[in-house]
């Protein structure tokens, strides 16, 4: 028995909400980064759900692009996190606030 589209969307929305709340609440850059990944994958899930519902492959193709993009982002982002940690000895986002008025 196929999973109803509504369930897929609810799951996607939940994942997205967890992601955005995590990104806003947590201060550790790595965790914020993970939360952003979570949001990306929530979007992927929604795309696949619609793709199946509408019987079209377009959504799934877009998901591939998003995965590639997420991989690239992970590479750059984690490299930045490591470089940042080496120079500042911390990953607390609230302490990395030199770029301001």
């Amino acid at each position: 028995m196929p999973v109803p589209s509504l369930h897929v969307l609810i799951l996607s929305a939940l994942l997205f909400a967890i992601g955005i709340i995590g990104a806003l609440m947590r201060r550790n850059l790595v965790v914020m980064f993970l939360c952003v990944e979570l949001m990306l994958n929530a979007a992927n899930l929604a795309l696949i759900g619609f793709s199946r519902r509408l019987g079209q492959l377009d959504g799934q193709v877009v998901v591939f692009f998003v995965i590639v993009l997420a991989a690239a982002e992970a590479a750059v982002g984690l490299a930045l996190v490591i470089a940042l940690y080496r120079s500042r000895r911390t990953l607390d986002a609230d302490q990395l606030n030199l770029m301001k008025y």
Partner: protein
């Protein structure tokens, strides 16, 4: 013919460009060769043009070179109009100008800024020739302003001297006042007739009747005359001319005696179809001229500075010319302009020769007996003084006599008053001019002992010019003989210029007897001789000196201080203006309002930015929050719009 004509003003302009741009690096002889060559060639061209002009069937050339300004129905061309009037002016300007250029070689040789002097002089020649050759009022105005600029530059030639710099500024500002009237007149003229071209305009004006009362022609001509009082130094704007003597003497001779200051006279004569239809204006022209003639002559009586005497004499003689215009004798005004150019240039250059010999001493108290040391200068100055005093048969006699006769016989309102004032001025002129001659060249010398052996005659180019001008001053009058002696060639030559004058009614040219004319001539000569005799009694028989004049007390004080007119202008006009400018225009309007608005706008933007930049707090999570809020906002918007 057209291209020859164009080169007459263009050559001095070329000379100006050469000397102005490269003069500093050129050797001195080359500098004056360029300058004198340019004006000399210009004079030769003018002579050639004159010779061809005489042979033309109709003596009128209009040469349009290009469209200068076109906007809507306003159009001004760059073109020259050669008629007898501009021909005479061109010859006088280039001829006297060339002589004075040659004289300047000797006079200015030792001065710093030699090239600068000649560059300005050439620029002046260019502007003056534009003024007299222009075929429309706008081009005339270009020359008019150009000569004003050169006058300013040359008065302030010794700009390191504060008095010279101030005199230059004064000349420029006083002329601005007159020019304001002139410009308003030009605008009024254009609004009324939709053209500024002389021939088109005068053809239109020729159809108009004479204005009995104040009308638009009277308004235009009065405004023009305001400009003329500035440029030609008449009451109330004459104050700049005596101060202009701060410039080098050749400048005084060329610009402030022979040519530029006569621009106002020229302009009025050029506009004769307008003035001929505005008798009210003519009355004012004559009155101002007559008053100026007497007023300036009285100031000349007690001046001690040799050049200042001549300056007031110039103001007075210009007044004479305006008297001639005021009674409608335009040709006579131009005749006196020409003879005055000869003898006044001569007198100024002679005084320059004296000043140079005495190492820039200008006070006549320290002169005397110079005829032994400066024989040529003394002889030529005598001729010049006799000419200006109106002694026959020198040039001044013919022109002055003609003015007095026209004032006496003319039908214009107040002509007898003009005649009386002009005769009085003639007597005063003879007196102060011979006072100058006697104090300078006669009596015992008052030059300090140790300086006497330095005093010697000026170099050859200068004395040669003096002799040539003395010849002109002696015989220049014979071109305009009075009716009882022969045909007046000068007036006949100028006649076509006055073709558009309204026909005169009987009064002006009512037959007058020969006896009357001879009586006027006799009176004029007698007054002149009386003036000379009086000067002889006072300064030779009694041996009075300028210092002795102080015993005359209050009257001497009043006149020596030029009736305190400068002080009056300072109190009534200059200081209130300066006060308003400082207290209101500067401190309240400029510093308060204008600066306040500009600074206020700046401060407002700064304040806004100061508030807005607080958003940029550097916290990643805050930015992320705003992104979320934005995303939700966009989502809701889309939902409500399309949902």
């Amino acid at each position: 013919m057209n291209s020859l004509l164009l080169w007459i003003p263009l050559l001095p302009l070329l000379g100006f460009l050469l000397n102005g741009l490269f003069g500093r690096r050129l050797p001195k002889p080359l500098v004056h060769w360029i300058a004198c060559g340019a004006t000399g060639a210009s004079f030769l061209l003018a002579a050639i043009v004159f010779q061809r002009f005489l042979n033309l069937p109709e003596r009128l050339v209009q040469a349009d070179y290009f469209r200068w300004i076109e906007s809507g129905d306003f159009a001004a061309s760059f073109g020259f109009l050669l008629d007898p009037l501009s021909m005479v002016m061109t010859l006088v300007v280039t001829g006297v100008g060339f002589l004075i250029h040659v004289y300047s070689i000797g006079y200015m040789w030792a001065e710093a800024g030699y090239y600068r002097f000649f560059a300005y002089m050439n620029l002046f020649m260019f502007a003056m020739l534009m003024l007299v050759l222009a075929d429309n009022y706008l081009l005339l105005f270009l020359g008019w302003e150009g000569v004003g600029l050169c006058s300013y530059l040359l008065i302030g030639f010794y700009f390191h001297k504060p008095s010279a710099a101030a005199a230059g500024k004064k000349a420029f500002i006083v002329n601005r006042i007159g020019d304001f009237g002139f410009v308003v007149g030009l605008v009024l003229l254009f609004v009324t007739f939709r053209t500024l071209d002389f021939r088109t305009l005068f053809a239109q004006v020729a159809a108009l009747p004479v204005e009995a009362h104040y009308g638009v022609l009277t308004a235009i001509t009065l405004l023009f005359f305001v400009g003329a009082t500035g440029k030609s130094a008449q009451i109330p704007l004459y104050v700049w001319l005596p101060d202009a003597m701060e410039g080098p003497t050749p400048v005084s001779a060329l610009i402030h005696a022979a040519t530029m200051v006569t621009a106002g006279v020229y302009m009025v004569v050029r506009s004769n179809p307008l003035y001929g239809r505005a008798p009210e204006t003519l009355f004012w022209v004559g009155l101002i001229g007559a008053l100026t003639a007497v007023f300036a002559a009285t100031i000349g009586l007690f001046q001690r500075d040799i050049k200042r005497v001549l300056a007031y004499s110039t103001v007075s003689q210009l007044g004479y010319m305006f008297v001639a215009l005021g009674v409608g004798a335009y040709a006579t005004g131009i005749f006196h302009l020409m003879t005055h150019a000869f003898f006044k240039a001569l007198l100024f250059l002679g005084s320059g020769s004296v000043i140079l010999a005495l190492h820039h001493e200008q006070d006549m108290q320290a002169m005397g007996g110079l005829r032994k040391y400066l024989p040529v200068t003394a002889a030529t100055m005598w001729i010049g003084a006799l000419a200006i005093a109106g002694v026959p048969p020198l040039a001044g006699f013919f022109s002055k006599d003609e003015i007095l006769w026209h004032a006496f016989a003319g039908g214009a309102r107040g002509h007898l008053v003009f005649f009386g004032l002009a005769t009085l001025a003639a007597g005063l002129t003879a007196f102060y001019m011979f006072r100058l001659v006697f104090l300078t060249f006669h009596g015992r010398t008052r030059v300090p002992e140790e300086q006497r052996h330095h005093v010697h005659e000026s170099p050859r180019p200068m004395t040669a010019v003096l002799v040539v001008l003395a010849l002109l001053a002696a015989v220049g009058g014979f071109v305009g003989l009075p009716a009882w002696l022969g045909p007046n060639a000068f007036r006949d030559f100028l006649q076509p210029v006055f073709a558009q004058l309204p026909p005169v009614d009987g009064g002006a040219h009512a037959p007058h007897s020969l006896a009357q004319e001879l009586a006027v001539t006799g009176a004029a000569v007698l007054v002149g001789l009386l003036g000379i005799a009086a000067a002889w009694v006072v300064f030779i028989r009694r041996g009075a000196l300028p210092d002795d004049e102080k015993r005359l007390g209050a009257a001497h004080q009043l006149i020596f201080h030029k009736y305190y007119v400068d002080e009056l202008y300072d109190r009534v006009i200059v200081r209130p203006l300066a006060w308003i400018s400082e207290q209101w225009l500067w401190k309240i309007f400029d510093a308060g309002l204008v600066d306040g608005l500009v600074n206020g706008a700046g401060a407002m933007v700064r304040g806004l930015g100061d508030g807005a930049r607080r958003v940029q707090n550097g916290l990643t999570r805050t930015y992320l929050g705003w992104v979320a809020v934005g995303a939700i906002g966009v989502g809701l918007y889309v939902l409500f719009l399309f949902g």
